[in-house]
């Protein structure tokens, strides 16, 4: 698990080259101008980033979750926001690949895996985040169609995506009454709220997705009626690993910046890196990231093997990695002093971007709930 094969090294090298050349040089500008670089996502699609762990039949790369966490970490060193969107896109692609029938897979996957078409994951609703099973968006069956009504909140890629995987209520039976339905962007009655103004993640759009008598064929449903909650939660296991990896990448970027800065910055007659109080801080940051990385790889390996403890391990890894990434980035900002607070140094952007990773894909409180309930139930 901890020794990479030649192929695994080559995969990481290729992603590092891509992130270094195509993401990192533009991250500050995309943040400042709130620009969602879909043309760069198409480039990413050519590498195989559109369906990292989707099967090869319809254009997926057929890699493992363990490969994916290393890939997302490298992407996030270049730009955590773009890396995180690619993670969300991959959740959607995996849901269609894993639960779609032959016709759905053939229709959607070829353009999604190349990232010529983008995907959005629609679970959260206004006033309903952590208690996802209580969602109220309704899909009423009328003949061979579903009619959707409701609002989804905090949807990444909304307005830019070609397909929305919508978790909607098809029966009043709690989490068992939810179905996953594919809604194409051109469906009449589909609209979007204004771009949310937010602390970070400026390089990807976040909007409400609004359904007003949106008609889609029943054939657009993934899996059986009532399977939606399980499908959504299944996608989140991988999503949690990926977002944890995005936090690690951002944290590693911030740590590397801090080391470089403390080597050159002098105060009280010597470089700051020679002050042991600061050196110890750097050591702690490295330990935090390495511990989180080790857990993340272990959780990814568990998901690859379909291990019994994969779900709590993914939750543990998500919580530890997103906390570690944010705390390291924030510590790097402090070590940079006033310069860390300036946009020019790139640290404050990463702090802002990583903050939301502690909230989404299940808040870190929900991660503790998953782990705690697993303990209590054992």
């Amino acid at each position: 698990m901890f020794t990479l094969t030649r192929d695994q090294v080559a995969l990481v090298d290729a992603v590092r080259d891509f992130a270094t050349n195509e993401l990192a040089p533009h991250a500050a500008e995309w943040d400042e101008t709130h620009y969602f670089p879909i043309e760069v996502l198409r480039e990413a699609g050519r590498l195989g980033l559109g369906g990292i762990y989707a099967s090869e039949q319809f254009g997926g790369s057929g890699l493992s979750r363990s490969d994916a966490v290393r890939i997302f970490e490298e992407l996030a060193v270049g730009d955590p926001t773009i890396a995180a969107y690619i993670s969300i896109h991959n959740m959607v692609v995996w849901m269609i690949d894993r639960f779609g029938d032959a016709r759905q897979r053939a229709r959607w996957l070829p353009s999604l895996t190349t990232m010529d078409a983008l995907g959005s994951y629609c679970l959260t609703e206004p006033g309903m985040g952590s208690d996802a099973a209580a969602l109220r968006t309704r899909a009423e069956r009328v003949g061979d169609q579903y009619v959707l009504n409701g609002v989804k909140q905090f949807i990444s890629g909304a307005g830019a995506a070609a397909v929305y995987v919508v978790m909607a209520r098809t029966a009043e039976t709690g989490s068992h009454g939810i179905s996953a339905i594919l809604v194409p962007a051109d469906a009449p009655g589909l609209s979007f709220g204004p771009l949310e103004k937010k602390m970070g993640w400026h390089a990807q759009p976040t909007r409400q997705v609004i359904f007003d008598d949106v008609h889609v064929p029943v054939a657009n449903r993934l899996g059986s009626e009532g399977d939606g909650f399980g499908i959504a939660m299944g996608a989140l296991n991988g999503g949690r690993l990926n977002i944890g990896a995005c936090s690690l990448g951002g944290g590693q970027f911030a740590l590397d910046k801090a080391v470089a800065y403390l080597k050159t910055r002098e105060a009280f007659g010597s470089p700051l890196i020679e002050k042991e109080a600061l050196l110890f801080q750097l050591a702690d940051m490295r330990m935090q990231l390495e511990a989180a990385r080790t857990l993340l790889w272990r959780a990814a390996d568990a998901l690859d093997r379909g291990a019994d403890d994969a779900v709590p391990l993914c939750a543990m890894a998500k919580r530890m990695a997103t906390d570690a990434g944010f705390e390291v980035a924030n510590a790097s900002l402090q070590l940079h002093g006033g310069y860390g607070y300036l946009t020019e140094y790139g640290i404050e952007r990463v702090v802002r971007d990583l903050r939301v990773h502690q909230i989404l894909e299940g808040t870190n409180e929900i991660m503790r709930l998953i782990v705690g309930r697993d303990l209590a139930g054992a």
Binding site: R6, D7, A10, L11, A14, D17, F18, E43, R46, L47, G48, L49, I52, E56, S61, G62, L63
Partner: protein
Amino acid sequence: MKIAVLVKEVPDTWGDRRLDPSTKRVDRSSDVVVDEVDEKAVEIALQLQAANAGSTVTVVTMGPKRALDSLRKGLAMGADSAIHLVDDGLAGSDAVQTSAALAAALAPRGFDLVIAGNESTDGRTAAVPAMLAERLGVAQLTALRTLHVSGSTVSGERVTDDGYVDVETSLPAVVSVNEQIAEARYPSFKGIMGAKKKPVEVLGLGDLGLAAGDTGAANSWSVVHDVTARPARTGGTIVTDDGTAATQLADYLAAAKLI
């Protein structure tokens, strides 16, 4: 069209590169990568392949066992096959010997077009492509910034100190290209995973029909007498702006023949 692309493993230009004073050779113990211009050569070869149905691209390197990684990079980008010249007796060969070994590998395999980078970032002799063309007895076009093949004609813009010259010749030919030729593609995940399934032909001195006395450092045609470390960086020239800074700067650049 059968295309061969010469690729070379070199020390990463991002790291500290040094000459070993004891061997007077490039220290290859640091991180190594495919020379960037060679990745661009692979790219243009793949573009020519796409434009000429039925073409094949073979990447060729001479280097130690680990140089297989450089061939894998070319295969991951999309090349069909690879040839690896590897033998302890080849280590330390100079440009004359290297061209002999490459010619021995390429001649019997009948390539229509051999593409090389114009010079490596380590040895920087820029001599191997021309020597190889002589040994193969085919035409050569060097220092190209564009490259086209139409029927049996190969053409391009050859960069000179003053600009460029349009040049063309007939296949078979050896061409060398500079860093303007193309932007190398990123290898796709599928390309990376598929690279190890592609054929790599491994050739030693015996396979090449060369004798132990033909190649290697001990039989080199050229001798490095001395190597000196690059002098430490000095303060440089400071231009003080008394209102004429722009003029002073222009004069400085003109004196250095930079403008």
